[in-house]
């Protein structure tokens, strides 16, 4: 099944990006210092952005870098710095309850097995569709045309979330 001659540069790039992304994601979960976890999370976001670029979705890759690797990671780092009250090496420990740890590992293993089995047993047909040249233009037309209601609803939800976040973090003074 493994044919070395069919191995192209595209495949090699995918394997490298996927490997880096998965290692960084494991780092997020396994580092005992939460600052390392946050930095590892940024690397994961950049890896996912690279996957988007590889899938011909440049616009989404740029959004991923701007929103995730830029804004969200800074937000998380700020929160981590504000809320650290123990020594750094003990900020991101696994749960002390052994039962929870084993249950979590077991559930994860079962989920992973089910997903891999589902992907492995499905018969994938090869589509050979020509890609679109101007996917950003099509995205803009879809967003401002058919999906305008969803777009506006998302805008309102973002506004509500930002106002709510400020209110919750500031705390309400009771008179």
């Amino acid at each position: 099944m493994f044919n070395i001659s069919a191995f192209s540069l595209y495949d090699a790039v995918f394997i490298v990006i996927a490997g880096v992304t998965l290692l960084a994601a494991l780092g997020v979960v396994l580092f005992p210092n939460i600052i390392y976890s946050a930095l590892s999370l940024i690397l994961t976001f950049l890896g996912v952005a690279a996957i988007f670029f590889q899938l011909n979705s440049g616009f989404l890759g740029v959004i991923q870098i701007l929103v995730y690797a830029g804004a969200i990671s800074v937000l998380i780092l700020f929160a981590v710095m504000l809320l650290m009250n123990t020594e750094p090496g003990r900020t991101n420990l696994p749960t002390t309850r052994l039962k929870t740890l084993f249950a979590g590992g077991g559930i994860t293993a079962m989920l992973l097995t089910a997903l891999i089995a589902a992907i492995g047993f499905t018969k994938w047909t090869e589509f050979d569709l020509p890609g679109v040249d101007n996917s950003v233009g099509m995205l803009a037309e879809a967003m401002m045309g058919d999906y305008i209601i969803a777009f506006e609803a998302a805008a309102i939800m973002l506004l509500t979330a930002v106002v709510g976040a400020i209110l919750i973090a500031k705390g309400v003074q009771e008179k």
Binding site: V28, V29, L41, F59, L60, T108, L139, T160, I168, A169
Partner: protein, 102 residues
């Protein structure tokens, strides 16, 4: 050689790492980070399905944009809640978040 199944596999692994983090971490911020991992895995699936099954449309990419929007809102509100609880409890450990328990 690399096709849709490989991208789906990558998404599955990333999602399961996120699930493991949510279930076993003690720090609330680490749980939020794991949720971000899961959302990213879903985005990979959406974009890959868009490219390999319906390359002449942008529906998958559009859905991924909305997922990113919701993720940004979620992380902002989530961190605000954690900061607010930290003020009362002086802790970010999930075991100490028992304000609604009697």
């Amino acid at each position: 050689m690399i096709g849709l199944p490989h991208y789906l596999l990558l998404g599955s692994f990333l999602f399961c790492i996120g699930v493991f983090g949510v279930l076993t971490r003690r720090n609330a911020i680490a749980v939020l980070m794991s949720i971000e991992l899961m959302l990213n895995a879903v985005n990979i699936n959406l974009v890959a399905a868009n490219k390999f099954a319906a390359a002449d449309a942008v529906t998958g990419q559009l859905l991924a944009v909305f997922v990113i929007v919701v993720a940004a809102a979620e992380i902002a509100v989530g961190l605000a809640l954690i900061i607010s609880i930290f003020r009362q409890r002086k802790s970010v450990e999930l075991n100490d978040f028992n304000l609604l328990k009697w």
